[in-house]
Symmetry: C2
Subunit: 189 residues, 2 copies
DNA sequence: TGTCTTTCTTAACTTAAGTCAACGAATTAG
DNA sequence: CTAATTCGTTGACTTAAGTTAAGAAAGACA
């Protein structure tokens, strides 16, 4: 399982034997069953996740209704916006499948960064890329209709349609389940 | 004018005389007239901006229509998503008022970071905060109606309503100018 | 100053999403 | 395996945004 993380890292930086050994010493791979709440609204976040297998969603509670805002799956990092800060989280994180993930803490990060500064640089660079991608996703959302957004999702993350309940997809697209149902009917003409 | 930048920095880190002197040596404050295009779609971005006075907007060109996605004003940093990368920009940056701004380049940044590492740490920390704020803004956008979004804008950035043409606000809210006009009529009952 | 352009509003009409309610299908739990 | 819950679809109706077009108001410019 740790191989998955090394495999991912190796796309960006050379894996030295020392690094491999160091990472294998740390016990930070965890298993979560479907339905596990990883973070609750109002709680302080002290863990970030790197998904090896499975799927995690973030959702807000708006007047008793769950509003799904993101889905994270294999090879994606989940860094709560309040991670490391002492700010209470505004949203929940839930495993919507049995999930295997690497779990990071601020302390562990500091330790690794000290030993392997190249990982800190990498994380910073990846952070910038993610930020740019995020801006773009937001702009795209503003510029398109719910139907266009659904078609884009079908194209870009077809796996999600299979593994995630439709009412969560609807909420992710900013619409009600009934509307998504009608959109689906409309487009398969 | 450079005082403005020092004033801003001083909120976060102590300003040493050395730092003050160093920053004052650098000629990086520039003046742009209303209408100046700072970045064009397809162009590589090599400048970021810190607004001292004025207002900048980012917009995409979607099938010939301008879609405004963000407004930046006093004390805000404008970092194009393609800044420093060699990726062509997907959007435009335009001064919508006469604007005075500090202009940064990757080279200048590297230089300053080497001399004052605390500024690099600060920028990283601020980057994380901005990222978290951004996530929250997106979630909020998904969860609210155009009318609620307009009311929130009135509350959070009342100055924008005065200084920005309404059709740009409309596009920023994800709707057409006619709809914004009707929303305005609706809410002042 | 007066003309041209941009901006904002209004109206009539179309389109699609929200709401409420009902029902069958699928999934989960005991 | 059955009962209970969750999930997805459909229909009738409401509400609000998109579209098209026209005209008034405000700004820019020469």
């Amino acid at each position: 399982m740790k191989n998955e993380i090394l495999k991912h890292l190796s796309k960006y930086i050379p894996i030295t034997e020392e690094l491999e050994e160091e990472l294998s010493k740390i016990e930070f791979i965890k298993f979560f069953t479907k339905g596990t709440i990883l973070l609750e609204e109002g709680k302080i976040s002290n863990e970030c996740f790197f998904i090896i297998k499975g799927c995690i969603r973030s959702f807000y509670n708006k007047d008793g209704e769950e509003k799904t805002t993101e889905f994270y799956s294999e090879e994606q990092a989940v860094v709560p916006s309040a991670y490391g800060n002492k700010i209470p989280s505004k949203y929940y994180l839930e495993c919507i499948e049995d999930t295997i993930a690497g779990v990071g803490t601020p302390e562990l990060e500091t330790e690794i960064y000290q030993k392997f500064p190249q990982i800190e640089s990498l994380n910073r660079a990846l952070g910038e890329v993610i930020m740019a991608k995020y801006q773009d996703t937001f702009a795209e959302f503003k510029m398109t209709s719910p139907e266009e957004r659904y078609l884009a999702l079908l194209k870009n993350r077809p796996d999600l349609i299979q593994r995630v309940p439709q009412h969560q997809i609807a909420s992710y697209l900013g619409i009600k389940p009934e509307s998504l149902s009608r959109i689906r009917k409309r487009i398969m003409k």
